[in-house]
């Protein structure tokens, strides 16, 4: 390799680890030539902003967070006194942690499948529409552009138990709507409803995946006598399974960190008439860190959340690998 500065990177994020091994064998540490050293230096200079940011705000912050999680932090004096495992012990003794985890899990289990089904349904509709799909796509996308505060302000009134538009609409078709925001059983469905309104991000990913399914597959399936249902299950679903998998993974991670909507509807003020039904993990973490100033406890909470999200993602990846069909694996 000469002095080509513009040599494009042949590596991709998904490169198999085997690749690295062969590379290492092929190139035992020969000292760099002068021009290679220059090139390397230039490269490091270009990426130096990221290196600094990573060292301070990611790696540094993570190490710092770990230290704090084993300390009692005094904000007034900016001192961290080591307390060993006390914060983690407190974590497992605090009944609110269990409640917050259960709420968050409940929310995720309710929200993620509904989001997937609605997003896929809308994407299928848009994908099959013969015209006007662009307009409808824009309409479905608008809520995604709406700031969470605006969404929450509107739904706060729409979901009102006696006067809200949603219950009046339900009453019009003979259904007695629940006290969405007051009845502990309906607090989480309320937030799911708001989440579903902004489902367009997920929808767009499905739409792109649907449009990448080769049309001849459908024709072949039709010739073989497959009806619409069979074509959906045997062609569409396998072909878009990477997108389904990706969306499930990403929506689950997001669901575990649900904050804005719950905060705006129920937790703007400390303990202001809220039941524990809306106490999500991120809300409790925020409360402990920035209202109670229990930084050590909050840091320990953050690490527990990190481990939980990691475990769930790994499980999903394991399960996903079995069902996800990667069409062009060899081609790449």
């Amino acid at each position: 390799m000469s002095t080509t500065t513009a040599a494009p990177d042949a590596t991709r994020p998904g490169d198999p680890p085997g690749d690295r091994r062969t590379r290492r064998k092929r190139a035992p540490r020969t000292p760099l030539t002068k021009s290679q050293r220059r090139e390397a230096l230039t490269g490091y200079l270009f990426i130096s902003p990221w290196i600094v940011g990573f060292l301070v705000f990611t790696l540094g912050a993570m190490v710092y967070s770990l230290v704090i999680s084993f300390s009692r932090y005094q904000l007034a004096t900016d001192t961290a006194r080591p307390v060993g495992l006390a914060n983690y012990e407190a974590l497992f003794e605090d009944p609110k942690i269990g409640i917050a985890l259960a709420n968050t899990l409940y929310y995720a289990v309710l929200a993620v499948p509904l989001e997937i089904v609605l997003a896929l349904g809308l994407a299928l509709l848009l994908n099959s529409a013969r015209r006007g799909a662009g307009i409808f796509r824009t309409i479905f996308y608008l809520p995604k552009m709406t700031p969470a505060v605006a969404t929450a302000s509107v739904f706060l009134l729409l979901l009102n138990g006696s006067q809200g538009a949603i219950n009046r609409g339900l009453a019009a078709i003979g259904i007695q709507g629940p006290q969405w925001l007051l009845d502990p059983a309906w607090v989480k469905p309320s937030i799911v409803l708001m989440t579903l309104w902004g489902v367009a991000g997920t929808m767009v990913i499905f739409l792109a995946a649907l449009q990448n399914v080769p049309k001849d597959l459908y024709e072949a399936a039709s010739l073989d006598g497959a009806g619409a249902g069979r074509r959906f299950w045997n062609v569409t679903v396998p072909m878009i399974s990477p997108a389904i998998f990706f969306n499930v993974l990403v929506l689950t991670i997001a669901a575990f960190q649900i904050f804005d909507q719950a905060f705006l509807l129920f937790h703007r003020q400390t303990g202001a008439g809220t039941s524990d039904a809306s106490l999500f993990y991120a809300i409790y973490l925020f409360d402990q860190a920035f209202r109670q100033f229990n930084f050590g406890f909050a840091a320990a909470m953050a690490w527990l959340l990190f481990v939980i999200i990691l475990v769930i993602s790994l499980i999903q990846m394991r399960v996903g690998n079995r069902f996800v069909y990667y069409e062009s694996e060899d081609a790449r």
Partner: protein, 331 residues
């Protein structure tokens, strides 16, 4: 710190390659995918080629699309109507107000320091988006065009940080900014963007890799140094990916409630950004906390904070949708 590792933002962490994006754009408008020129397709739309069952399905699709659209648009219509109503009618759910109170739009500026909130939000969003665009692009260029030891590992680290839940760095970031004496200012809301952000680095690197390397080769031979190659060639050529990054980060920053709660809540109300301001207004007017239920002002504020996003979307629709994800192949 604004990076796609914030809660609720992860779903954006996926990209189309330019070709895929074009594919979405090309195929999703009025043109249905089945191959063929536009004329035969149009004939099919008109009817005769559709079987009776096909025609029924087409009608069902349209009805479903229209119903869904109505449901998705209803909250906007309701918001618009409510913003023109007097206090007593906010809840009456009429889409055409019985009493029109356009004065709400004037009074709100006496009720709430909305103007200074908007100014703060605008400043923060422009700084956040502008800085992250430039810094991520620099880093992406380094990863795309230069070979240096550890590049693969470092880029792997970039990708790994995209998956990191924002909660893990929430507390230490606050303490870092606190020790710098910057809590209470808006610097923490954009400061970390000086260092680039993983998702955008990934996105822009993809873009740079798509540029012909001969261009840089030639420039180098002509004696243009590395900075010149970046600034005079890569930078101007990558405007499309800049637009995507800028819009995404602008939106993220404009909507950022949690950051404002953590870093600005300590100061005076004039220093708030709009999300924090509206959150405080929701409490101010809440009858259960001693307010008078003047929700019409909250509705006006909600509309005003949404409007810039809608305008931005009207101009940058393509970029927003392109920037969004696809395929899961790289997930």
């Amino acid at each position: 710190m604004s990076s796609p590792i914030q809660p609720g933002r992860v779903q954006e962490a996926y990209v189309l390659t330019p070709e895929q994006a074009e594919e979405v754009e090309r195929t999703d408008g009025a043109t249905p995918p089945p191959a063929g020129e536009s004329r035969p397709r149009r004939r099919r739309e008109r009817g005769p080629a559709l079987s009776p069952l096909g025609r029924v399905l087409e009608v069902v699709r349209w009805v479903l699309l229209l119903v869904c659209s109505a449901l998705f648009l209803y909250p906007f219509a309701w918001l618009l109507a409510a913003s023109f109503k007097p206090r007593g009618e906010v809840f009456d759910n009429r889409l055409i107000p019985q009493t029109w109170v356009p004065e709400n739009y004037v009074q709100i500026f006496q009720e709430l320091p909305l103007l200074s909130w908007l100014g703060n939000s605008l400043l923060v969003a422009i700084l956040a988006a502008g800085l992250v665009t430039v810094s991520s692009s620099l880093v992406a260029f380094g990863f795309a065009y230069y070979r240096f030891p550890g590049r693969k590992v470092l880029f792997g680290v970039v990708l790994a940080t995209m998956m990191l839940p924002g909660a893990v760095t929430l507390v230490p970031s606050f303490l870092i900014w606190n020790q710098l004496g910057l809590v209470g200012t808006n610097v923490p809301l954009w400061g970390a963007n000086l260092f680039g952000s993983a998702f955008y680095i990934f996105l822009q690197r993809q873009f740079f890799l798509g540029l012909p390397k001969e261009l840089f080769e030639a420039a180098r031979i002509d004696g243009l140094n590395a900075w010149g190659q970046f600034w005079r060639i890569a930078f101007p050529l990558s405007v499309p990916s800049f637009v995507i990054v800028f819009l995404f980060e602008f939106q993220a920053s404009w909507n950022n409630l949690q950051g404002a709660l953590i870093y600005l809540n300590v100061g005076s109300a004039e220093g708030y950004t709009v999300p924090l301001g509206i959150a405080s207004a929701m409490t101010k007017y809440d009858p259960s906390t001693g307010g008078h239920g003047d929700y019409q002002y909250v509705m006006v504020a909600a509309l005003i904070v949404t409007l810039p996003m809608l305008i931005l979307f009207a101009f940058g629709q393509r970029s927003f949708i392109e920037g969004l994800a696809t395929s899961g192949r790289k997930g």
